[in-house]
Symmetry: C2
Subunit: 94 residues, 2 copies
Amino acid sequence: MPLAEIVGSLAAFLTTASFLPQAAKVLRTRETGAISLIMYSMFTAGVTLWGIYGVMTMQWSIIIANAVTVVLASIILGMKVRAVFADRASRPKT
Amino acid sequence: MPLAEIVGSLAAFLTTASFLPQAAKVLRTRETGAISLIMYSMFTAGVTLWGIYGVMTMQWSIIIANAVTVVLASIILGMKVRAVFADRASRPKT
């Protein structure tokens, strides 16, 4: 494997796998205060489009890496959305 | 521009730009409790390698997108590391 491909594969592994500890942390602690709702909305939409790009250009590595990231980012986004709604519901009505 | 290129460009814009609201939120609130240190360590290393991959394969779009993401991810990682050290320093010695 050429050196550039090794560097690219390691880069793809790290950026995709990095969302695993974040998803695990959010599921374990249920804490999402510092997590940006706008970030995960944009990011989840972005990796979904990367997956569609992979399908359109028939690149399996792009499809698989982004499918994994969509699942992990969706968990984080889902927990954040839940916390935002729970927070709104608990506020006193004025 | 072919449709796949439009989808890919939009995907690249969204995934890169998504770290801007997260970096802004962390800088504004100084709150990093829910942010995973392991995630941002792996992610920053990964996007740095993506940038190196871009240099090795001479792809300017990859170099620029990842250079922007490295800066934004480093801000978030830096604030998290600072908070971890501040937290350790404030703990009573036993």
